[in-house]
């Protein structure tokens, strides 16, 4: 039935979409009426079934038999729900579970995945035990007029047991998680870290790579112009060789330091395959360090998907086009990375050079001062 209605809906849409652009799409009122009618028919059906049940119940009673025992009916429903639910959960775990992210493509991501596996096993044990107990108790202890419930107001021993066990298990998870977290977030800066600036704005990411000096020049939001859209400060030499880049290329097995910035509203740099996420906050530069371990080519082979690309996308609501704010990320070998890098154009392009001449002259006459950059 579900599929049938889908089809019908699609047909009505196709019909209306065909009408011209100038004309407002026309509502297919018969289609609407059809749905309303179906709903009323279902309601009517429910009412009829309800009445039949009532009549059946009454006739049973008239014949001197007991009426329908709804407690037993509901208890049976509970046990059926449990069985179907368990199968459904299993089905969902295997079917949709297999559609989730593949193994982590970064060094720290492997640790996150280990932790995830441990937590999943522990919580799933609790999940299945408690849900099974809940619904079997409901069936097993359904109402009977002949019986009285067992008066059991408390039992201190068992209460202590089930306070202490979760506490111990959670302590283990906390300790394990705390140290992993500290390790991931407090990684030291290494000399050969590759510094990459990722700047989010509505609705795109800007990438800036350091040039030969390996240092990114400072930035200031006050220096932003049409051509210098990141506000790079060209009073500093380190800015001159910075590269403007379109696709994020990363050499495999190298430590990457993403400097995460935002210009207008909060964005979030999310690269789920690498288990990387950190918000980009205007006025608060942040960074995330990670080591990619699987190249794009390797991942394509693993997933058997020749078109696969790693992506970086926005994961903090940032406006109307939030749903389409992405950058392609390619993890390549060191050699490929170097060839690619040598082809990239510097940030300081001709237009900017031209503009800066005027700008620097203006600045001198205004006597405005440079503010220290925020990053580095």
């Amino acid at each position: 039935m579900l599929l049938g209605t889908n089809l019908l809906m699609a047909q009505t849409d196709a019909g209306s979409a065909a009408t011209g652009q100038a004309e407002a799409p026309k509502v297919d009122w018969t289609g609407v009426a059809y749905y309303v009618l179906i709903f009323f028919l279902i309601c009517l059906g429910v009412a009829v079934v309800g009445k039949i049940l009532k009549v059946y119940d009454l006739t049973l009673k008239m014949q001197g038999k007991k009426g329908l025992n709804w407690n037993t009916v509901m208890a049976t429903f509970c046990i059926i729900f449990l069985l179907i639910g368990l199968y459904g959960a299993y089905w969902s775990f295997t079917e949709q579970g297999s559609m989730t992210l593949p193994e982590a493509a970064s060094a720290h991501g492997v640790k996150i995945d280990e932790m995830f596996t441990v937590t999943t096993i522990l919580t799933m044990i609790v999940f299945f035990i408690t849900q099974i107990l809940l619904f079997t108790f409901l069936f097993r202890y359904r109402y009977s007029a002949k019986r009285r419930a067992h008066f059991l107001p408390h039992n201190n021993t068992i209460e202590k047991v089930w306070t202490i066990i979760p506490a111990v298990v959670l302590t283990i998870l906390v300790v394990f998680g705390f140290f992993t977290w500290q390790k991931i977030m407090n990684s030291e800066n290494l000399k050969d870290d590759i510094n990459i600036d990722v700047t989010g704005h509505q609705f795109a990411w800007e990438l800036r790579y350091p040039g030969k000096d390996g240092v990114l020049g400072p930035k200031d939001f006050r220096l932003v112009t049409g051509t210098n859209n990141l506000g790079v400060n060209f009073k500093k030499k380190s800015s001159f060789d910075d590269l403007k880049v379109d696709t994020m290329y990363l050499p495999v097995n190298k430590s990457i330091r993403l400097n995460i910035l935002a210009q207008d509203v909060i964005h979030s740099v999310y690269m789920p395959y690498f288990r990387v996420q950190l918000n980009a906050v205007p006025g608060l530069p942040t960074f995330f360090k990670f080591v990619p371990t699987i190249t794009t080519a390797q991942m394509r082979a693993k997933l058997d998907d020749p078109k696969f690309e790693y992506t970086l996308y926005c994961n903090k609501i940032c406006g109307g086009s939030h749903y389409n704010m992405q950058k392609v990320v390619r993890v390549v070998s060191e050699a490929e990375y170097q060839t690619w890098l040598s082809k990239q154009k510097p940030y300081l392009n001709d237009a900017l050079r031209k503009e800066l001449h005027f700008a620097s002259a203006n600045e001198q006459s205004n006597g405005s001062t440079n503010r220290l950059a925020l990053n580095n």
């Binding site: 209306s16 998870l173 207008d264 288990r275 608060l284 940032c318 086009s321 939030h322 749903y323």
Partner: protein, 629 residues
């Protein structure tokens, strides 16, 4: 102290009673500007249900967009006009829908609708008071809530549409009117509405706390209060302490928006234009917001826990297992909920060490939650379970609380949160643990106390249908979402069409949408049942569920002041169900121990040596008699 207060109130009541005989209440003072807690409870409930239906319709609208991102529905244009040009909901309006859906559900339904209804109805009735401590403030609380609701909904009628920065309204998105259409007048209305809402919530909360503390009837000490009262009491305390912080956050945001201050803003270039803000921090708002926001989720779930505990105990015909542990775990949750807010901010750029600390406190709060779950299971064990619709919803609440609570262990772990933050995993988690669980707690309460509110019974069979459809569909909607989150699918995405990696989830989205539509349609069964039973339902008896608590000692026909004569005295805890030796399987709180000698236990007299002695003489004479026989 409580005795004194009760005495004072009785005097006041006698005056009032005499006064009432002279003139009947007008329609306006009885139904509209009522100061009777029972009427205010009904007002909260019906407004809450209305808001819930609206928020539910909003959710169906955005679910349609997610299921059919590339189809056009001309009907949407007819209904929504400029918000859905060419038969498709616009991206900005999609965000407005999710924002207002979240805001209404969290604040207007599950805070005001839930606490407002049941605190108002149950606190005076279950502690044995004639009314709230301040009936006038109580009325004001409802009307401010009503005003807040109207203002929130009115934002659909402004040119650029309602607020659309997500229900968490993080600045700078919400602070810069040019950042998105919804950050214009819509946002202003959102902020005004929230300030009024918090005022309403505080008035209610202060009333609830003072009523519980000062107006309990004779014999009703704190450890004789039903768990509903404990839960509502602690919820009110949470609200009083947490909501003002939201107002502080909101007022500073209003300043940033309208006066040009820079509390939350710094270094902003919007559409290539530098903004004159300096020195603020967007993170500050998140701290202020979540300082309320996290206690808020417990404000939502604790009344549901209390209601479920009560309903499950009554319908299992068994005392709630570990009453003291249940109360202490509620207290534990109340205290801990103030020091866990940072777990919403692990990846915001907050100092990672702080993240580590918040992770520890967050996982500690799982312990009292686990204790509660085990105690509910132990309550069912060897019970004599009657499946009323209320009982089914309470059970559903427990099931959802387990399913959703366990995923909280993932999200509370900062390490795992790196990849799960803001994905559908989060959506699944909180919709189960605080959305579905809390709404099921609320529905359990509605089915259970409907006879008390309206003097009539709801239709049981329709209740069963409502339960099973809603329960199954809620799982069908939220269970698959976990896996979307594990695949890195972000929440608040207008369409999954732009990413090759997300397109495989389109079929799941269609499935989820249809499950949601069926769930939504089955709510009409509830609405029909609710409104028709109100006038045509079977007349209720005084104690239809054979329950112990005080509210069932009041007459079916409502009267101002609740009890016609003296307020009954309480002698025992509220959970003496199926006590061995008792005549019936329940002993109301108003029955003194002297009348139930055959069922008394030494445990009942822990703080009452005289009573214990009487029990000992009784048992020894009983034994002596048996020996004589």
């Amino acid at each position: 102290m409580s005795t004194l207060a009760v005495h004072d109130h009785e005097v006041a009541h006698h005056d009032e009673h005499g006064h009432e005989h002279h003139h009947d209440q007008s329609f306006l003072s009885k139904y509209v500007f009522s100061m009777d807690h029972k009427m205010i409870a009904k007002q909260f409930l019906i407004t809450g249900i209305t808001m819930a239906v609206i928020a539910m319709i909003l959710s169906i609208l955005f679910r349609i967009q997610l299921a059919y991102p590339e189809k056009t529905f001309p009907l949407l244009t007819t209904l929504l006009g400029r918000f859905a040009p060419n038969g498709r909901i616009s991206p900005d309006f999609y965000l407005a829908l999710v924002t207002i859906h979240g805001t209404i559900m969290v604040f207007f339904v599950l805070t005001a609708g839930l606490s407002g209804t049941f605190a108002n109805l149950l606190i005076p009735l279950q502690v044995g008071a004639r009314d709230m401590a301040s009936p006038f403030m109580n009325m004001l609380s409802y009307w401010l809530f009503f005003l807040a609701s109207v203002i929130m909904l009115s934002s659909f009628f402004v040119q650029k549409g309602p607020a659309s920065g997500g229900w968490t309204i993080y600045p700078p998105l919400s602070a810069l009117p040019k950042a998105m259409p919804g950050s214009g007048e819509g946002m202003t209305l959102w902020l005004i509405s929230m300030v009024l809402f918090v005022a309403s919530s505080l008035m209610g909360g202060i009333n609830y706390v003072s009523t519980v503390l000062n107006m309990r009837t004779k014999g009703m000490d704190l450890w004789k209060m039903p768990l509903t009262i404990w839960a509502l009491f602690l919820t009110a305390i949470l609200g009083i302490l947490a909501f003002p912080v939201l107002v502080a956050g909101v007022v500073l945001l209003i300043f940033d928006r309208s006066v040009g201050t820079s509390f939350y803003l710094s270094d902003i270039v919007l559409n290539g234009v530098q903004q004159p803000f300096e020195g603020g921090s967007p993170i500050l708002f998140q701290h202020l917001f979540w300082f309320l926001g996290h206690p808020e989720v417990y404000i939502v779930i604790m009344p549901a826990m209390g209601i479920s505990s009560e309903v499950m105990s009554v319908n299992s015909r068994k005392p709630i297992f570990g009453y003291h542990a249940m109360v202490y775990s509620l207290i534990g949750i109340t205290v801990l909920s103030f020091i866990v807010w940072g777990h919403h901010m692990f990846v915001t750029g907050m100092n990672p060490f702080l993240g580590g600390v918040f992770m520890i406190t967050t996982l500690i709060i799982a312990v009292p939650s686990a204790v509660k779950t085990f105690n509910w299971l132990a309550t069912l064990w060897r019970g004599n379970i009657r499946f009323t619709p209320a009982m089914l919803f309470a059970i559903g609440m427990v099931s959802f609380f387990i399913s959703g609570g366990l995923t909280g262990i993932f999200l509370g772990n900062a390490t795992l949160d790196i990849n799960l933050h803001d994905t559908y995993f989060v959506v699944a988690h909180f919709h189960l643990v605080m959305g579905s669980a809390a709404i099921f707690g609320m529905l359990a309460g509605v089915y259970h106390w409907f006879p008390k509110m309206f003097g009539r019974m709801m239709d049981e069979k329709l209740g069963y249908l409502h339960f099973w459809l809603t329960f199954i569909c809620a799982y069908l909607v939220f269970f698959p979402m976990h896996f979307m989150g594990l695949d890195g699918v972000p929440r608040r995405y207008y369409a999954f069409t732009e990413f090759a990696s997300m397109q495989k989830w389109l079929t799941i989205n269609t499935f989820v949408t249809w499950a949601a539509i069926i769930a939504a349609l089955s709510q009409f069964g509830f609405l029909y049942n609710f409104f028709v039973s109100m006038f045509k339902g079977e007349k209720a008896t005084q104690n239809p569920w054979e329950s112990n608590t005080l509210e069932w000692t009041t007459p079916v026909e409502h009267l101002h002041g609740n009890w016609p004569g003296e307020i009954p005295t309480v002698y025992r805890w509220p959970y003496d169900y199926s006590k061995p030796g008792a005549e019936q399987d329940y002993i109301p709180q108003t029955v003194p121990y002297s009348q139930t000698m055959s069922s008394n236990l030494p445990h009942d007299f822990e703080d009452n040596p005289a009573g214990l002695e009487a029990l000992n003489t009784y048992t020894s004479t009983l034994k002596a008699n048996e020996q004589v026989k």
